[in-house]
């Protein structure tokens, strides 16, 4: 394992999950409080570039603009600050800290300075880390521990992108005022989907 601290956090989370409900839950109960603590919200404001780079790795620039041009980081930070679930806030903030540590221990560089492949490899590490267990097990896990860092990042990146000016008007198809409804139209492969329902 490249980084002891990351490993410990992950180990703690998986053991909590496995043992939840058992006698050991009492021991982990105090650790669980870490997840429900008041999060360090202001930390996020200093991470704009890092969050922008993470979002861009999720939705990169192609023939259409990517997440960075869509200013998705601003939206992610805004939403984490106003998030409904304190566990999501903590999972996200801890995730950002883990990304920093991981990049440094793997590449001896801050995440922002990594090349494209290294960024992808780093995000892939966290994707695996937070792999959503399928089915009921996954649901229970999400309920007890909150969504994984990767899932939070990915969902807010998608929402932020697909509702942004460039995402709506360039990444997707949009008609502000359609004026008419055509129930059946032809579709050709590659044609963008509608941005709004």
């Amino acid at each position: 394992m490249p980084n002891q601290k990351i490993m410990n956090r992950r180990k703690f989370i998986s053991s909590l999950f496995i043992l939840a409900g058992g006698a050991a839950a009492t021991y982990y109960g105090s650790k669980y409080l870490e997840l429900t603590d008041s999060p360090d919200i202001n930390f996020l404001d200093q991470q704009k570039e890092l969050i922008g780079d993470l979002a861009e790795t999720i939705i990169p620039t192609t023939d259409t603009p990517g997440a960075k041009e869509a200013m998705v980081h601003e939206y992610i930070i805004h939403m984490i600050k106003h998030e409904r679930d304190v566990k999501i806030q903590n999972n996200f903030i801890n995730g950002i800290k883990d990304v920093k540590e991981y990049a440094f221990s793997e590449y001896k560089l801050p995440f922002e300075k990594l090349n494209k492949e290294q960024k992808i490899a780093t995000v892939r590490y966290f994707q695996k880390e937070g792999e959503n267990f399928k089915g009921n097990l996954g649901k229970v896990r999400n309920k007890v521990l909150g969504k994984s860092f990767f899932l939070i990042l990915k969902e807010y990146t998608c929402i932020g992108y697909c509702t942004s000016t460039v995402g709506v008007t360039k990444g997707l198809a949009y008609q502000a005022i359609p004026s008419k409804y055509l129930a059946i139209t032809n579709y050709s492969p590659g044609q963008k989907s509608w941005a709004t329902k």
Binding site: T57, I58, R84, K154, T165, G171, I184, S193, K197
Partner: protein, 572 residues
């Protein structure tokens, strides 16, 4: 409407305070009462407890683009904390048309979400606009199975009034000749897309007595009475600057206003209906000004209560006198009882492999409708429950909100998949009838007061065995219908929603034939107090499974006609 409709009376002379008619509430039924009474020549004051909302001018979000919303229409912690009830229904684009839960508390002895819009137009701005007629299957239901009391009217009594209101509001829909879902006065329907057509044909082929029709919706498929047509933005609940759908603000209140007979007074919280022991009639209402907390009285020959189901019952329960110590017109003791909603958020969805070469353009503000098919007759009798449910359904291609959850990947390929349409999906959700049940009820808790000194409402509501059995059937039948029509990856759901979240409250001042067991007669007139009429959801003897607003509107127009005739005959 212009600012001249805000009146703030300083002159204390009685004549200034006297009108021919008082209408309490300006929502979907109050707007109709105002229009009908004004058009029939009655000087009418509409008392609305909330602020003014002027058509077009007061729709601040109507033309906003998705990126202009700070939270991009997602809920936040503040929503959950401040508005735990209303935020189940609203989003960022229409939250200004819902009350603030902190300012308008109530008690839930057993959970019931009381969704409210306190402003001119009420919930007619944010309503779902689905309009379906009731039939004699509904009007005879109580008589046949013994739940609740018999409706004092039948379909023939209300049919011409359905025609009348549909001709004014504008309803798009397809005539089908279905006996228990009578056709109406329709503008052209909003068409089905290819997967919905596929589904409709499959249902016809595979099932007897099951129909699929275009959603009947109060959106205009062509320009109509200086309104619309619908621009297919599907942003109705923000208020429509094109007048593309029916609301009090866009339709009935302007019609009332042009008669010159309308006075609209916002910020007027009705504290009680004043009973005159000498005449045996109501002589007027006392209000509290929402902003100044001053009280004021208005007098009229006839009073229409259209404050909405729970609020109307509250006003009656607050209106105590020596003649009516338990609330105005409450000699039956029925006021507040038999609260109903429709139960929903149960059904199934599935995917289809075909039709990849088709899509659609424009945002249709409705879906398709599968009318009730259970307990229509002996052949369709279900062993586990009485009454039934209809489905609202919708076919569409998977778009980014679904696509983002379809796999765990990220990067270029993920983005390419995210931004193109995926497979076709059908979603079917049931809207089911709740039986009238005296244990589902609201009452006043006099020990707790709101900021205007009025007692808080307490609500106790629970789904019974009949509703639970119906939900199970609705879930399984949806899956069966999708399976038989060629869908795959079928998933059933029951989100077990809070009662009240369908926002179809009904039944707290029911109509009936007997003054001992009901509050209103066949003309929506109080049995006990003949010049008080109630035509909002509280009048409903049973709920059917159809969206109810159309019925409130038809009953309102009908009751106004009766009331004005009675006035002319000096009977009120």
């Amino acid at each position: 409407m212009s600012d001249s409709t805000h009146i703030y009376i300083n002159n204390k002379s009685i004549t200034q305070f006297t009108y021919d008619a008082i209408v309490v509430g300006s929502g979907i039924s109050g707007g109709w009462a105002a229009k009908e009474l004004c058009e029939k020549g009655l000087k009418t004051i509409v008392l609305e407890r909330g602020r003014q909302v002027e058509h077009v001018k007061d729709y601040p979000t109507a033309l906003k683009q998705p990126w202009e919303f700070e939270n991009r229409l997602e809920l936040t912690e503040e929503d959950r904390k401040i508005n735990p009830v209303q935020s189940q229904i609203y989003n960022e684009s229409c939250k200004h048309f819902f009350v603030n839960d902190q300012e308008h508390p109530y008690i839930q002895e057993k959970p019931f979400s009381w969704i409210r819009g306190y402003h001119v137009g009420g919930r007619s701005i944010t309503w779902g606009r689905q309009v379906y007629r009731l039939s004699d299957l509904d009007f005879t239901a109580n008589l046949k199975d013994g739940h609740g009391v018999d409706w004092p009217i039948r379909y023939n009594d209300i049919a011409p009034w359905y025609d009348y209101v549909e001709n004014f509001i504008g309803v798009s829909g397809q005539a089908e000749g279905i006996p228990h879902l009578p056709d109406g006065q329709f503008l052209p329907p909003m068409e089905m897309n290819c997967i919905e057509k596929h589904f409709a044909e499959g249902i016809k082929k595979n099932f007897d007595s099951r129909w699929v029709t275009n959603g009947r919706v109060a959106n205009l498929t062509r320009g109509y009475k200086d309104r619309g047509p619908c621009q297919y933005r599907n942003l109705c609940n923000r208020g429509c600057p094109f007048g593309g759908y029916f609301s009090s603000n866009s339709s009935t209140l302007p019609a009332a206003y042009v008669t010159g007979n309308l006075t609209l007074r916002p910020h007027s919280i009705v504290q009680e209906v004043i009973y005159d022991i000498n005449t045996g009639k109501a002589k007027g209402v006392r209000i509290i000004d929402e902003l100044t907390h001053d009280t004021m009285e208005f007098y009229a020959k006839v009073i229409f209560l259209n404050a909405s189901t729970i609020a109307t019952a509250s006003i009656l329960l607050q209106s105590t006198s020596t003649s009516f110590p338990n609330g105005l017109g409450n000699s039956s003791g029925q006021i507040g009882l038999n609260l109903m909603d429709h139960h929903k958020s149960v059904g199934a969805n599935g995917e289809h492999d075909g039709y990849e070469e088709y899509y659609y353009s424009g945002r249709r503000p409705t879906g398709i409708y599968i009318p009730r098919f259970r307990n229509l007759n002996e052949q369709t009798k279900h062993p586990d429950f009485v009454r039934g449910y209809g489905y609202q359904a919708d076919g569409e291609r998977s778009e980014w909100r679904d696509r983002m959850k379809e796999d765990d990947s990220f990067g270029v390929d993920f983005k390419n998949n995210l931004t193109v349409p995926g497979p076709w999906k059908m979603w079917m959700g049931a809207w089911g009838e709740c039986l009238p049940n005296p244990n589902n009820k609201m009452w006043l808790d006099k020990s707790l007061k709101d900021k205007w000194g009025l007692p808080l409402v307490n609500i106790s509501f629970e789904y019974g065995e009949n509703e639970k059995a119906m939900r199970k059937d609705a879930m399984n039948s949806a899956a069966e219908m999708l399976e038989k029509t060629g869908f795959k990856n079928i998933a059933t759901f029951d989100y077990n929603p809070n009662p009240g979240t369908t926002v179809h409250e009904m039944g707290t001042a029911r109509m009936g034939r007997d003054a001992k067991t009901s509050v209103l007669n066949e003309h929506n007139q109080m049995h006990d107090v003949k010049n008080v009429f109630i035509t909002d959801g509280s009048c409903m003897s049973s709920g059917g499974c159809q969206n109810p607003s159309l019925t409130y509107m038809a009953l309102t127009a009908r009751a106004c006609d009766y009331a004005v005739n009675e006035l002319k005959k000096n009977n009120l």
